[in-house]
Symmetry: C2
Subunit: 346 residues, 2 copies
């Protein structure tokens, strides 16, 4: 697909202001007929299709960042927002937050609402439904109209925007290697469905760590959870699925879970079955949230440095808003993970 | 203080639209000189002082609710937002969230930003700094300009707005009576400083429950935490303060904590001292978050029904936005608490 031209590029090419281009495209009588014709012809030539959002925005600085997250009752996302807030405040920016609730429509709606004059740019993490649909038109349109986006954690590789991700693959490899070093012979994986990119990458990290150690990969040891719904009943289903994992793998002596809730529930199941942690079975989670820290035993976990992620995302966005940036080149920043050793491993 | 007149009341009194009043006050030539003089004289007579926010807003429906919370890395507030979202969505409203980070200035700034055309009304919980300063001008101004506010959890009684609160006093009494019924003779309280209204009310509930049982009130058993800062170091300080509480009260056999984090840290301290839960000492927390549910042992707690609170707040606000409401009468809805029994009590 040929890359769509942005308002900014038309303005630069014709040596007029962005606001002139925007007004010319809407046929405003504030702009001379000559300029209107020139802009419209140019836009047509380069296949520029505007929609309502973000038009005529660029000359009005709101000094506000719009953040869209999939879920709010979630330690990781709230920590990222804290990081965004901290950095934005030092730079004189405000932050407002919209929620997609993992829904495609709500994501589109929230972006339209915020892009409509309230904010200068977006920091967002993509909803699960959007990832399943693979419909990214709302991101593309926003970007093409000259409003920058920074994506974090759940990102799309070929979009023209800056991205901040955790090295999920490497973090997961690190966790599994640690369990192997601590003597685990049969390591279970509790992960999400593959359409969630972070779950898929963590699964791949697990597989490669197992294979690199020359161990045999056993599909029975991998449990993939459909967590598109996180209601209370879902937690009971989760518990029975994990019980089944233990039942199918009676000699399992290590568990790597891609989030802390899965790890805690797995520890609960292990205790119920009379297993001692970490003597009989060891556990590692992902995400360093409050649950990991205050669990009994406290959970060894891969920290994603959520707050640092938020700070980095805000810094990338503000740089792009305040400086004449190269519109063709975008950064992908990888935040390194750390293994935090606690009492759920030997 | 004489109550300030609102735009809405001026409009009603003079039988013109709110937008006419707003424009007349700004001396707009769209309004006849006669009307302008009348409105301005009336406004002067009743001491109407406008500021920039919210003026000329009332005729533009954004169908968006602005929510301002003190903290985002907090299960209670995120659950309330979830409730607001759920109800707002069924009514066709969007929700955007701003954070005060417990700061007065950020609260004022966020309200100005959102009131400036982005939203129809506010749902908010007041920052600790605002409660300490007792400066409520930003709430009064917003209300006087005809933009409704619904306050939840941390509220100010004499503001002209709807309020949704938890019955903190009753919830706390319930918890302490439960511990007494389960045989506790020496019950410790871990609470916040008194300027936080919910902490103060929970402390009062504890005191009255102890006194009603004819037991002697022992000041040594009450620990008031200054939690204006919730950083990592703060948690270590918290732990040493709780250790001191145990050290000062060696026969303490019950603990009521006004939030789940305090309760969990207290259980950790008890375990370190070789005490068995619930045999030697029993624990009850406040707020039914993920920590309570997944703690070991799981924590008996007073549930605030945060999601129901959010739903009620959204419903009050939307009613006020969509119906001609009585501007002199406001509702104060009290959400009942429930005691959820788990394994930290007998």
């Amino acid at each position: 697909m040929k890359r769509k031209i942005t308002l900014k590029q038309i303005a630069k090419e014709l040596d007029v202001s962005i606001s002139t281009v925007s007004k010319a495209l809407r046929n405003s009588i504030e702009i001379s007929e000559d300029t209107r014709e020139k802009v419209q012809a140019f836009a047509k030539l380069y296949n520029y299709r505007p929609n309502n959002i973000a038009l005529s925005l660029k000359n009005r600085k709101t000094k506000t960042i719009g953040v869209i997250i999939p879920e709010i009752v979630h330690h990781f996302f709230s920590k990222v927002i804290k990081g965004i807030e901290l950095l934005a405040n030092t730079k004189g920016y405000n932050v407002i937050v919209g929620l997609s609730n993992e829904s495609f429509d709500k994501e589109v709606l929230n972006m339209e609402m915020l892009a409509n004059g309230s904010i200068d740019g977006f920091i967002l993490s993509i909803s699960k439904e959007t990832l399943m649909k693979q419909d990214y038109h709302h991101f593309n349109e926003t970007i093409n109209q000259g409003m920058p986006i920074v994506m974090f954690d759940r990102v799309i590789n070929d979009l023209n925007c800056d991205k901040v991700i955790v090295d999920d693959y490497e973090g997961s490899t690190k966790a599994v290697n640690f369990l192997i070093d601590k003597g685990c012979k049969s390591i279970g994986l509790i992960t999400t469905m593959d359409y969630v990119s972070v779950g898929r990458l963590r699964t791949q990290g697990y597989i490669s760590a197992i294979e690199n150690q020359g161990a045999e990969l056993n599909a029975e040891l991998i449990l993939k959870i459909d967590d598109s719904n996180t209601s209370e009943e879902q937690i009971d289903i989760l518990e029975s699925q994990i019980e089944q994992l233990f039942e199918n793998n009676k000699n399992m002596d290590g568990v790597f879970a891609v989030n802390e809730l899965y790890a805690l529930i797995a520890m609960k199941v292990a205790r119920k079955r009379g297993l001692k942690i970490p003597e009989d079975i060891q556990f590692i989670g992902f995400t360093d949230g409050v649950l990991s820290k205050h669990a009994t035993p406290s959970l060894t976990t891969v920290s994603q440095h959520a707050q640092a992620m938020g700070e980095k995302a805000a810094s990338l966005l503000i740089n792009r808003l305040e400086n004449e940036e190269d519109e063709e080149h975008f950064e992908k920043v990888i935040i390194e993970t750390d293994l935090i050793e606690r009492n759920s491993t030997k």
